[in-house]
Amino acid sequence: MQIPTGYEAGVEGAVLKADVRELDFYYGAFHALKRVSMPIHDHMVTSLIGPSGCGKSTLLRCFNRMHDLYPGNRYAGGGIVLYPDNTNLLDPGVDPIEVRMRISMVFQKPNPFPKSIYENVAYSLRVRGMRNKNELDDRVESALKGAALWNEVSNRLKELGANLSGGQQQRLCIARALASDPEIILFDEPTSALDPIATASIEELIIELKEKVTILIVTHNMQQAARISDFTAYMYLGEMVEFGVTDQLFIKPQKKATEDYITGRFG
């Protein structure tokens, strides 16, 4: 796959973690992403906004090669370069499992496995072949602490993950994603199934997490994007309309289409 070089939308002072370059993606015959380009900065929160169906999830799911699971999906041009390796994630020679080991994901609806709280978090370590009990214990504990869940569950690690409340389940899924120390975590509307209090705690957590990991989050909630992200990208109909520092994009968008969307005149 030929990747265009020299994308220059990066922001000074910030280090690039990944770079989407003129990416085209198809669901069968449907052209879902059209020459999309955007930078992802290291240890920052980048959010993707735009009306429903514009391709936010599609773009997000390119980062961990989730599209590879279904027949008919096609990366058709361009790529996503991961730094510092400087390799294209979408290259057919790159093993999707390797990619997912480094780029983890949290879904829209909490989807804990039908296992205990402990085993849910240990899962991402077990798939990597970790068997040592002490090491697992330590990693599970620190992941649960990282997801601000340890205090609530430390005395019931053997209970089913599904017994937790919705917000706790989502934090369990965050702990599961954190346990393996990924470089990037992808969030696809992680609070859309949660009540306002649980939403606030997840937002707070995401802001804390950027100490450890780079975050890319899809949200249909502009206030959320404004509250938690450093950079924001606005997409429309499979195209990247505008990318910028969050404050600037919301206060002084460069494109008329972006302004219409964020002022609510559209979408």
Partner: protein
């Protein structure tokens, strides 16, 4: 209506409107009657099946009662011989039970692992095309009359097994059990596959997103998530094995034999029942009554498995 005559006229609806309303009401009422008829038909169908079940249990219990007036329950449970047709009659059900358990055990050793592997393959690995071709074949396998399986065991499998193990008698529980296992595979595979396919995609995606392989996802996430459905499939397989008659009657020899060694011939509860039912024992003789006691034993076993299945389904109810 006479009551309406005394009402002030302004409260009476105009004639045409009144007809419209009552027409509609009548239509509604007739629909109601139709529904009532259908409802009662459905109810009688359900009631009929309950009635039949109760009647079967009643007959079994009543006839077994006659049997147990003559043969003490302790003999039935603990005697080690089953010779109801001899002068020196013994009625130890464990002789038949051993045949049933041995042949079922062999069958399940075949059907459960293979059925589960086929289910995992079809649900998690096979592409759309393979699945569309494989499933009808599997269903065909389940639709073959069991007498055909019986002759297959007797005339095809047993000679092959005798080449490997020359001492194997022509009638044996092993060959019957193996073929019975093949017969049960489709049930176990098909139901387990349904259970696995019902596991939401979101769980699989969660697993893949953590870097899991297909096999890890299938074994560590999908299979545990489908536990209750898979357990039901196993229970159905066990019930089929315990209740299977023709294969054993044809290939296992019908000689009552207290053994857990599958290379010996043996009779099972079911094959004994056909033997007596088709034989010329006078109705009402104690020898004839044995089949009711044996049938009741079979019913209780099946009931126990069903209860186990019910408990497992409750215990491992899928919470997605």
């Amino acid at each position: 209506m006479t009551a309406s005559a005394s009402l002030p006229t302004r409260l009476l609806p105009s004639a045409s409107l009144g007809n419209g309303v009552s027409d509609r009401l009548r239509k509604k009422a007739s629909r109601h009657v139709k529904e009532r008829i259908i409802e009662s038909l459905l109810f009688s169908a359900a009631a009929f099946s309950v009635f039949v079940t109760v009647a079967i249990v009643y007959v079994l219990v009543k006839e077994s009662w006659v049997f147990f007036q003559v043969v003490p329950l302790s003999d039935f449970l603990f005697d080690t011989q089953w010779t109801p047709l001899f002068d020196d009659a013994h009625y130890g059900i464990m002789v038949l039970l051993s045949g049933t358990l041995t042949s079922s055990g062999v069958a399940l050793l075949v059907a459960i692992p293979l059925g589960t592997i086929i289910a995992i393959y079809l649900s998690e690995f096979a592409g759309f095309k393979v699945r569309e071709i494989a499933k009808p074949f599997l269903e065909l396998l389940g639709g073959v009359p069991t007498i055909v399986y019986g002759y297959f065991a007797l005339t095809f499998l047993t000679p092959i097994l005798q080449k490997i193990y020359p001492d194997l008698p022509g009638f044996n529980l092993l060959s019957a059990g193996l073929v019975m296992g093949i017969m049960i595979i489709p049930y176990v595979a098909s139901l387990s596959e349904d259970a696995m396919r019902a596991v939401p995609m979101a769980l699989r995606e969660g697993s893949y997103a953590m870097g899991a392989t297909r096999l890890q996802t299938a074994l560590w996430v999908v299979t545990p998530a489908a536990t209750s459905g898979i357990a039901s499939a196993y229970i159905l397989g066990i019930s089929r094995a315990v209740g299977e008659t023709m294969i054993l009657a044809v290939a296992a020899g019908m000689q009552p034999n207290l053994t857990f060694n599958p290379t010996e011939p043996g009779a099972t509860i079911t094959s004994y029942i056909v033997q007596v039912a088709l034989g010329d024992l006078p109705h009402g003789s104690i020898g004839y009554q044995t089949i009711f006691a044996a049938g009741l034993t079979l019913l209780l076993m099946t009931l126990a498995f069903n209860l186990l299945g019910y408990w497992l389904r409750k215990r491992f109810r899928e919470v997605y």
